[in-house]
Symmetry: C2
Subunit: 252 residues, 2 copies
DNA sequence: AGATAATCTTGATCAGGATCAAGTCATTTA
DNA sequence: TAAATGACTTGATCCTGATCAAGATTATCT
């Protein structure tokens, strides 16, 4: 070890270079010196508890946030008092990108369970990205990826049946858990049925009925928030708009 | 003529500094020197005709494009041969941002009428933005704004009634035409009813019926693609989820 | 111009999923 | 441990908007 850097901050537990999430997060593709420069602007606060807000719509935008553990729901309050759930975010994911445009948050973010985040002061990140082309490039990519993800969601909400929506939702978590080294077929969902429904543009009752139906059909086992996917291929078929459950196994 | 090379005047008639769209477009907020540097990398090709593709899903991503006249539809082909319309784009709007993430286009863009665009080679733009913090900032803002716009669309598709969707659609055009110095209440829509329906997650027939109903209710006059909005305040009421048409004027 | 093909409108019927209503199960609190 | 509260499930009914079908209008082509 040539570099013996003494760090004086008291609450730093994790540095980017040691963080298992670096391949999903901002440092992706950065050289190790660059990672250190990035690391130097990142703040790590104490964890949020279930229900705590990371920020609320209208707050001044200061920092992007990367979830490091736990999970977060983002939502925007709509006119009539209700809310639209915009996304569920897992470790390694960046939130707050939508706030860059006008320097304040347009939506709110709330912890769904005990959650830790890295805060990245945006003005510093911006300055740094001017000096580091690879960081700038990574920022462009991340912003663009966010657009692409929302585009997929538009297709989901515009065209897909309830069944396709829930299957897509479940497989999205399956893939994201897998990326993070967890089981792609056995996991806990940290959000309520109500929140799932809101996110997918469905009523709670529909979500509940679909879980039951998927279970009856042997696609999965579900008990409260614990989901075990038992037939990934058929779930993928459903996502692709293949025949509905009924016809898939008609007269076996 | 000092210049012996004969240049098609399509190619040279606009420079950023003279372009009326600069307040909507990339140069927004740039100093005049910076605008010139930006201008130097921008290519202006000959116009596209109705139905011509600017790019298709799968194409290698080279350039962002700014519409300078006409209009463009972006869409992504989905599994079953159909398409999902992602947006309609007017002069001053930037398309292709979703392609940055993995260097190729995920969706297609087609001219809805005779359309001119500026092409902005992305790798050059990226280099330039490293040298020009104000350009970098503008890029972040534009990307972020795109995310915010898609977020609004998610809310539209997730929660709104057919009536609210069409009213929102019409007012979006109203506002965008107004921004561009055109009438906010008298304009031509360049896309078909089918495309409107696809974009809004509605069947063609529903769109057609809504136009008829809106007209019957005195909200607008419509004849084919020519729309005249006659009661903007009530359209805004509808967007906000206020009472539907029927109850708004019950027992007038 | 006349023929043909799209596009759009209108009407009739259908169905997916919302809403309403009730009951069950889990978790928290006292 | 019981009561209270909130989350989830299940059933019955309703309604919005899809689909099917036909006709009208407009655009395209030779």
């Amino acid at each position: 070890m040539t570099n013996r850097k003494v760090v004086s901050f008291e609450n730093i537990k994790v540095a980017c270079k040691n963080c298992s999430l670096s391949t999903l997060c901002l440092p992706m593709g950065l050289s190790s010196e660059d990672v250190e420069r990035l690391d130097s602007i990142i703040k790590r606060g104490r964890p949020y508890h279930r229900g705590d807000h990371l920020y609320r719509g209208g707050d001044k935008f200061q920092s992007l946030r990367v979830i490091t553990s736990g999970s977060v729901k983002t939502y925007s309050p709509n006119e009539d008092g209700g809310e639209q759930v915009l996304g569920f975010h897992l470790p390694g994911e960046l939130i707050g990108l939508d706030a860059i445009q006008d320097d304040h948050h347009n939506c709110s973010a709330v912890a769904l369970e005990t959650t830790a985040v890295c805060e990245v002061p945006f003005s510093q990140l911006e300055s740094l990205s001017s000096l580091m082309p690879s960081l700038q490039h990574q920022m462009y990519r991340l912003l663009s990826r966010e657009i692409g993800q929302e585009t997929e969601m538009l297709t989901l909400l515009g065209k897909k049946s309830a069944e396709e929506r829930l299957a897509t939702f479940l497989l999205s978590f399956s893939e994201r858990f897998k990326q993070r080294g967890f089981s792609p077929s056995d996991f806990f969902l940290s959000m309520s049925r109500h929140e799932i429904g809101n996110y997918l543009g469905l009523a709670v009752e529909t979500v509940s009925r679909l879980f039951t139906r998927f279970q009856d059909e042997g696609l999965l086992h579900v008990e409260r928030k614990h989901v075990q996917l038992q037939d990934l291929p058929r779930l993928y078929d459903i996502v692709q708009g293949a025949d509905s459950i009924k016809s898939t196994q008609s007269r076996g």
